[in-house]
């Protein structure tokens, strides 16, 4: 109860001061009255009263001391004392706080990214209750896609369920057509998620039942595409050719339950069905994702078994689409999985892509923080040694060791608090850099915000580091002999253990720096190798435009060869266009990946796996535009006759030639290709061989491939590649877009994108990791420099006497220089010895992320060790020159 009264007192501290004053005023007045009654004059009475009552300030201080517990009182004193001490040593404080701030800031920034990418839950109430159904296919894994029929069959499930279908769509606002992502949702979708519109309302059950032509848009869509229009409600947008009226804007941050959440528009499920949006109106078609909410206390297993029973009934009743198709669903069980962090996006596995990189970076910043802590510990040790005299005097005057330790701990806490404060600011700056690096080119996916989780992390990290670096100096005070320096008349701690300790700390820093620098060289080399990797084509200038017929008036016919031919003719005629060509797929940029089974009569591999081979359809000019060189033979001429033609001329790449026609001239050879389960077999005659190009990414090796002519009625979309003349890049893009539109008005086309830019964004992950690793390495090196500088400077000043004697006895300045350098190199050498095995282990751990470098590379270790030694020499130069500059006479007189 005493503590409760204390707290309430301090909460009303100000009013208590006023109360005391008023109380004393009353007392004084009463005394004056009493004196007057005894016959004193007014002024005498006042003086007498003042004398009796004493000093009001004193009384207030007394009251404060009573309400403050004695321990708190002394803590407060220590706090102010430590603060004064820090302010008296600005250089020490600055270096300590800055190195911690870098460490804490880097940790906060990386954790912020990890949090938003790997840990963050969906922005809905009670996300931990959200579950999704999966079709359990036994050995073949799980499938998240159901049909609308199956969802309907699950009505009356023991937990509330809802569904959505994600798909791409075309969007027309104010006459401009673009692509969009839309989710067709069940009427109960928003109710189950428990979110509310920030404007208007969300889709209701009656919207769904009536198939109302309405849409809800996300906050990002509203801000980005509708310019945060305040009159958004009732605005008409056209999705897949259907006019919809906007009824509401979803809350900020919500864009569906996938991760990454990329939906822009939500429409009622039945609306999508009726107007055949979002893919298909086939009730049996797979593609429906089913999510549900389990009651808070219900374990996921029980939710599963409850639904499994119902699922069994559905299967038995034969209501299921899969069953209708004659598939054996009786064996397919149902699984219920926790999707509180979102349902993984089927085409964009950001988490898988970035998990290992982020964890490696987290380990890196952890090491960095450790090095920063070692640095601060070191500075504190040097400082407390310099203060040994002061500490000894305080012990002699009766201060307990506990009090001294408390004081040192408070000093550490203040440093770490300052470091954390500065670190959070640094982190915010760092995060904007990270976001600007645009992971996966997805605006809005990565929104590192200093939320409670991140701040809690920072607080824990800074307190932990305060303990780590504060404990050594404190231990020293507890253990060491504090009085001896006083007896000796010296002002410093005895040498010996202290030296061991601070050298050990610098060696630790050196070891950690070696780890980070060698890691950084591995990542930087990886990036350079990938950037310089031979892609098999020349991606210097050409850009690509995807011409799309789906969801347009050309959907039925697809890209016809007449259309493609005419577009090429007009594009090639444009001024500033060197070459142009169509392809179903463009290296690294993308397109459709198709493969067939290839057989060469009487030769080559025959088993099914080995004969599956990628192919692409191309037009003349494709290879020339992409800079894919011919090794022999010549290009395809014109377009193919039809998709069902039985023979055609094709071009193969040299990997294909090596695989299927080893030791033979491939030109003129014939092979057959067929789709699995397809009876159509086409005979292909090889007329040319091109170099093999990497189609997937710079990292993945090139595959055997063949290229067939573009035919009619086969391709829903084709990619146009254009190589502009030098300096004509800006003007050619729009002209090409107009040329395409002039051939086929209303056809959809993507913005012109440089193929080189796709290579760049394919390397975003590597760029981020290389950049950050290099930054961490540089910071670690500078920490070593600071640590070594401080220690060497201290050692030199400690050995002034000895150096003076040496010089008086005739030692040359170069031998003194060597003396100092030898000492600092010995420390770094110790660090190297400890760091090299660590670096090898760490290299192994990140091995899978490397490209073209071995994790045990001698090269990276040499760079790291060399830079450490260079830093060691640089950091000891100033102390060494100070040693050389010692005047023997002055030095000898000093002691």
């Amino acid at each position: 109860m005493r503590w409760l009264r204390r707290i309430t007192y301090w909460l009303q501290f100000r009013s208590h001061g006023d109360e005391l004053r008023e109380e004393l005023d009353f007392h004084r007045q009463a005394l004056i009255d009493e004196m007057r009654a005894r016959g004193l004059t007014a002024s005498d009475a006042r003086d007498a009263a003042r004398r009796t009552l004493g000093s009001e300030t004193y009384m207030r201080e007394e009251a404060r001391a009573i309400w403050l517990s004695p321990r708190l009182e002394s803590l407060w004193q220590d706090w102010r004392y430590a603060w004064r001490g820090l302010r008296r040593a600005p250089v020490f404080t600055f270096v300590a706080v800055a190195s911690l701030a870098v460490g804490i800031g880097a940790n906060t920034a990386i954790f912020g990214v990890i949090h938003s990418l790997l840990l963050a839950r969906l922005p809905i109430p009670a996300p931990e209750q959200l579950v999704a159904l999966r079709r359990d296919l036994g050995a073949k894994g799980v499938d998240e896609r159901f049909s609308r029929d199956e969802f309907d069959a699950l009505v009356g499930a023991p937990i509330p369920l809802t569904m959505f279908v994600s798909s791409g769509g075309t969007l027309e606002i104010d006459g401009v057509t673009t692509n969009t992502s839309l989710d067709a949702v069940d009427g109960g979708y928003f109710g189950l998620l428990g979110i509310r519109a920030q404007r208007g309302r969300l889709i209701s059950r009656s919207d769904d039942a009536d198939a109302a032509p309405v849409a809800v848009v996300t906050d990002r869509f509203w801000r980005g595409r509708l310019n945060a229009d305040s009159a958004v409600l009732g605005r008409i947008i056209t999705v897949d050719g259907q006019k919809l009226s906007i009824i509401g804007v979803a809350p900020a941050g919500f864009a569906g339950v996938r991760f990454p959440a990329l939906a822009e528009i939500f429409v009622p499920n039945r609306t999508a069905m009726v107007f055949a949006m979002a893919g298909s109106n086939d009730r049996r078609r797979l593609g429906v994702s089913i999510v549900g909410r389990r009651p808070a206390p219900q374990p996921i297993d029980r939710a599963r078994s409850n639904i499994a029973v119902l699922w069994g009934h559905c299967c038995a009743a034969g209501q299921l689409a899969a069953a209708a198709r004659g598939e054996t669903v009786s064996s397919a069980g149902i699984a219920v999985v926790d999707v509180s962090r979102g349902i993984p996006h089927p085409k964009l596995d950001l988490r898988g892509q970035y998990r290992s990189v982020l964890l490696a970076l987290m380990a890196g910043v952890g090491i960095l923080l450790l090095a920063a802590c070692a640095n601060v510990a070191n500075l504190l040790l040097v400082r407390s040694s310099a203060r040994a005299g002061e500490l000894a005097v305080r012990v002699a005057l009766g201060a307990s060791r506990g009090r001294l330790v408390t004081q040192l701990v408070i000093e550490s806490v203040q440093i770490s608090l300052l470091g954390a404060l500065l670190g959070v600011l640094l982190a915010r700056w760092g995060e904007t850099l990270f976001v600007r690096a645009r992971i996966g080119d997805l605006p809005g996916v990565l929104t590192p915000r200093a939320g409670p989780a991140v701040l809690a992390f920072t607080a824990i990290v800074s307190v932990a580091s305060g303990i780590i670096f504060g404990v050594l100096p404190a231990l020293r005070v507890l253990r060491s002999d504090l009085i001896t320096p006083l007896k000796q008349g010296g002002r410093r701690a005895p040498r010996g253990r202290r030296n061991m300790m601070d050298r050990g700390l610098v060696a630790l820093q050196a070891a950690l720096a070696l780890l980070l620098v060698s890691g950084a060289t591995l990542f930087v080399q990886t990036l350079r190798n990938l950037q310089q990797a031979n892609l098999g084509f020349d991606a210097s200038q050409q850009f690509a435009v995807t011409v799309e017929t789906r969801r347009t008036s050309y959907a039925r016919q697809g890209m016809t060869s007449q259309m493609a031919d005419e577009m090429l003719r007009r594009v090639r005629a444009l001024p500033g266009v060197r070459t142009a060509g169509f392809g179903s797929r463009v290296p690294v940029y993308g397109g459709r990946g198709s493969y067939d089974n290839v057989t060469v009569r009487g030769a080559g591999p025959t088993d099914a796996e080995a004969t599956q081979t990628w192919f692409a359809a191309v037009t003349p000019g494709y290879f020339a535009t992409l800079g894919i060189p011919f090794m022999s033979g010549h290009d395809i001429e014109g377009f193919g006759a039809s998709a069902s033609a039985t023979s055609r001329d094709v071009v193969i790449n040299d990997l294909f030639a090596k695989k299927f026609f080893p030791n033979r001239d491939p030109i003129g050879q014939v092979f057959e290709d067929s789709d699995t389960g397809d009876t159509l077999v086409t005979e292909n005659r090889v007329i040319g061989v091109v170099a093999s190009s990497k189609f997937m990414s710079p990292r993945a090796p090139a595959d055997p491939m063949y290229f067939v002519p573009v035919t009619n009625d086969e391709w829903p979309y084709l990619v146009l590649v254009v190589r502009p003349a030098d300096g004509a890049l800006e003007t050619v893009g729009p002209a090409v877009a107009r040329a395409i539109a002039s051939v086929a008005p209303g056809i959809a086309q993507s913005d012109p994108a440089l193929v080189a830019a796709s290579i760049d964004s394919a390397l975003a992950r590597e760029r981020i990791s290389a950049g950050l690793a290099a930054l961490f390495g540089a910071v670690a090196l500078s920490l070593v420099a600071v640590g070594l500088y401080g220690v060497m400077l201290y050692h030199v000043s400690e050995r002034t006497n000895e150096i003076g004697i040496r010089m008086a006895l005739g030692a040359s300045s170069s031998s003194v220089l060597v003396l100092v350098l030898r000492e600092s190199l010995a420390v770094v050498g110790l660090g190297l010895a400890a760091g090299i095995p660590l670096a090898l282990v760490a290299g192994r751990a990140v091995g899978s992320q490397l490209y073209g470098v071995t994790p045990y590379g001698v090269w990276s270790l040499c760079i790291a060790a060399g830079s450490l030694i260079a830093v060691a020499i640089a950091a000891s130069l100033v102390p060494a020159r100070k040693a050389v500059g010692v005047d023997p006479l002055v030095a000898l007189r000093a002691e």
């Binding site: 005493r2 007192y9 008023e22 007394e62 001391a65």
Partner: protein, 112 residues
């Protein structure tokens, strides 16, 4: 830390007891307590105001007294202190303790 009371004539630690005793009759303000102690002891016990108020703060912290604002005899705003249940208990305990001590001291003075 000038917690001990300054009045040399008062036995150490007895000020709290005296205040609690004075409050047993009912609510009083600080000035009243000082008056009362002086009057009852026929001016033998001079309670310095400089130790009275810290003592009152201590009793507040310990929860032995409660303070409320009210009107004084001549209708001025004054802060009145009342004994709490805990204070009453404490008074009994301290009083017994004190009496035991006095008897012990007297015994020693008489027979030692």
């Amino acid at each position: 830390m000038a917690r001990s009371n300054k009045n040399a004539e008062l036995l150490p630690g007895t000020l709290d007891l005296l205040i609690l005793r004075a409050l047993r009759g009912g609510a009083m303000h600080g000035y009243g307590i000082a008056q009362r102690l002086r009057d009852v002891s026929k001016d033998v016990l001079q309670v310095g105001e400089s130790s009275l108020y810290p003592a009152l703060q201590r009793l507040l912290l310990d929860g032995y007294v409660r303070a409320e604002w009210g009107a004084s005899e001549n209708n001025r705003r004054a802060r009145f202190y009342t004994l709490t249940a805990a204070g009453r208990k404490q008074l009994t305990a301290e009083q017994e303790e004190f009496e035991r001590m006095v008897v012990a001291i007297q015994t020693v003075l008489r027979f030692a």
